[in-house]
């Protein structure tokens, strides 16, 4: 049985002038120990998807799913008390902004031990020991001393490591990392990614890594789901996606990335013309058709999520035209 099964997840926002469909029928599954990367531009709905899993959506948002099961537990119908029992315990989340994600008025130690003592009956001393252990594991020097420090006394990279340690306090089965490296320097980014990959292997956790950066994804992911305008437009094993992208959007994304050795200096980088559509009101047809070079009249109708190879799906009806042109 898969650790996490998501089938047809929908997230809507009730706005003054209509309903915003932020997530429109996202489906995926995740096995234990697997890393799934969800890739997409801002507004694609990837963050909303992760918040929907933990039911941490903002007030005006509503969530529906045909199936939303975590380790046999039905998340869609679970009462809030049950969800609270899972959050930080069996499924943990790491956010994008390490500078503001920690409470400035409490010490690191306080916030770390709180994460453990909320879910386990351990003494303060035991909790502190585990905190030191994990701070060490995430590569923070002088871990014991850090417990009494306040967040503002640490750099951004260190704070993100603390966030990771905090997520690990209860030994979760699933970690959701929402753009964990976006707000950090490039050099730190690589370190954090390595750290996540190592921890994942050591603790056997499943991970959902959300990013807009394909380069980041390539290092760490087993599977990739590309999201556009609230839908998954392509999903495949990592190597499949990078070797043979099928959806025009995915191809466009990969074209935008300069590849050392192949992209000539001074040569123009690819760009996808146009903008993502606003998702207010009823949507029909392929959301990408206004920006797609291969769009045809049929693209305004229903687009099924077809299998192009074992484990590789794409939401497009013009795949053959694409292959011919390539």
């Amino acid at each position: 049985m898969a650790l996490l099964e998501v089938d047809n997840l929908l997230v809507d926002f009730a706005l003054g002038d209509g309903v915003l469909h932020a997530v429109r029928g996202v489906s995926f599954s995740l096995e234990r120990g697997e890393t799934l990367a969800i890739v997409g531009e801002s507004g694609s709905g990837k963050s909303m998807t992760s918040l929907a899993l933990m039911n941490l959506l903002p007030k005006r948002a509503t969530r529906h799913a045909d199936r939303l099961v975590f380790d046999g537990i039905d998340l869609a119908s679970a009462p809030e008390t049950r969800m609270r029992g899972l959050r930080g315990n069996r499924m943990a989340m790491i956010f994008q902004e390490p500078m503001t994600s920690l409470n400035p008025s409490y010490t690191i130690g306080n916030q770390l031990t709180e994460a453990l003592r909320t879910h386990r009956a351990v003494s303060p001393a035991e909790a502190r020991d585990r905190a030191v252990q994990l701070l060490d594991k995430v590569g923070i020097p002088a871990a014991a001393r850090r417990l009494n420090q306040y967040p503002h006394q640490l750099s951004g990279g260190l704070r993100q490591r603390v966030m990771i340690a905090m997520a690990l306090m209860c030994g979760p089965d699933l970690i959701i990392a929402d753009e964990p490296t976006t707000a950090l320097d490039v050099t730190i980014q690589a370190q954090i990614l390595h750290l996540l990959a190592d921890l994942k292997t050591e603790f056997g956790m499943a991970m959902i890594l959300i990013s807009h950066d394909l380069g980041v994804v390539a290092r760490v992911a087993d599977k990739v789901a590309v999201m556009y305008a609230g839908e998954v437009v392509e999903s495949a094993a990592s190597w499949q996606l990078f070797k043979a992208p099928r959806h025009p959007y995915t191809r466009g994304l990969l074209n935008c990335i300069p590849v050392p050795g192949r992209t000539a200096p001074g040569a123009p980088l690819g760009a996808i013309p146009g903008q993502a559509p606003t998702l207010i009101g009823a949507q029909r047809g392929c959301a990408f058709r206004d920006r797609c070079a291969f769009a045809a009249a049929e693209c305004a109708g229903d687009i099924p999520f077809v299998a192009v190879a074992p484990g590789h799906h794409a939401r497009c009806i013009r795949l053959n035209a694409l292959e011919a042109a390539a």
Partner: protein, 305 residues
């Protein structure tokens, strides 16, 4: 933190000094004190004699420095009307006003802060609207009217509480409600706005993601940060209450500092008036200093800078 504190202290001291000058000048320049002391039926000669007797014919700066020097030694001279030194008069009346102020502030905080937190947590709902409506109403009812109303209801018709005086704790119930009433809207709004801002911050999202109970998220994580400006406001409001206690003490016949000042003003007893204004202003300056320091101390980012 230390340099911040000492800098603020310097400012506070200079403001206190300036206020003493202003208070002094205000009284001496508002009218002819000698005439006021002598009374409306006195002759010019009597007025001149009084002027000389009280040293009112000396240059103002000399009068001021003389007064200030004595004031620093807690000698405010003798009251014209009461047969006592100003210092002992003030000392005997101070406890009533301080007690009243403290209870009023405590009451106001106990009502306003939870109200503000509730309004923020349930923002946009009827609870929020009721709280804000309560605020608007609160600011429209003058304290003395509320005091009188309370007397009519609780002392006269229900007979639960005494009408006036300062005999027991029961005497302080209605006055502190009337005095604290005016601080509630300001504190409530600040608490509410502070909480709203804090509740939308990233670290609250992290707290929720850790599976913490809502009460822990709100009270431990959110309130701790939202309360910082409220502490400063509370100190300032305490200063206002001490100044505004005049009216309440008059309504409830409480022999406090405000009542003393009122009697003194009505009887042109200037040494008393001057002294009370100076003391209240100094207390206010001290409170704003404490508020500034508390503000800085409660935020670890400033405290440990």
């Amino acid at each position: 933190m230390l340099s911040f504190t000492s800098q603020r202290l310097l400012v506070a001291l200079s403001v206190a000094l300036t206020v003493s000058i202003v208070a002094f000048m205000l009284l001496h320049l508002s009218g002819d004190l000698a005439t006021a002391i002598a009374g409306p039926e006195s002759t010019a000669a009597q007025v001149e004699q009084i002027r000389h007797q009280f040293g009112l014919d000396r240059p103002l700066s000399v009068q001021y420095l003389d007064w200030l020097w004595h004031a620093l030694h807690f000698d405010f001279g003798n009251s014209f009307y009461f047969r006592d030194t100003v210092t002992s008069l003030i000392a005997s009346r101070m406890p009533v006003t301080m007690t009243l102020g403290a209870i009023s502030l405590a009451l106001a905080l106990v009502i306003a802060i939870p109200l503000g937190v509730l309004a923020a947590v349930y923002s946009g709902t009827i609870i929020d609207r009721l709280a804000l409506g309560f605020c608007v109403l609160g600011q429209a009812v003058p304290a003395f009217c509320l005091g009188l109303g309370l007397i009519i209801v609780f002392a006269v018709q229900l007979r639960w509480l005494p009408v006036s005086g300062t005999a027991s704790w029961k005497n302080y119930v209605m006055p502190s409600i009337a005095l604290g009433w005016y601080a509630v809207p300001a504190v409530m709004r600040l608490s509410r706005n502070g909480m709203l801002e804090v509740l939308s911050s990233d670290y609250i999202r992290t707290a929720r993601a850790k599976g913490l109970r809502p009460s822990v998220v709100i009270l431990k994580h959110a309130l701790r940060n939202a309360i910082i400006p409220v502490v400063a406001l509370a100190a300032v409001q305490f200063g206002f209450m001490l100044g505004g206690s005049i009216v309440i003490e008059a309504v409830f016949n409480m022999q406090g500092l405000g009542y003393l000042a009122w009697e003194a003003i009505a009887r042109n007893d200037f040494p008393v008036v001057q002294a009370v204004v100076l003391i209240l202003a100094t207390i206010y300056v001290a409170l704003t200093f404490i508020a500034d320091v508390a503000n800085a101390f409660l935020d670890p980012r400033i405290r440990l800078a």
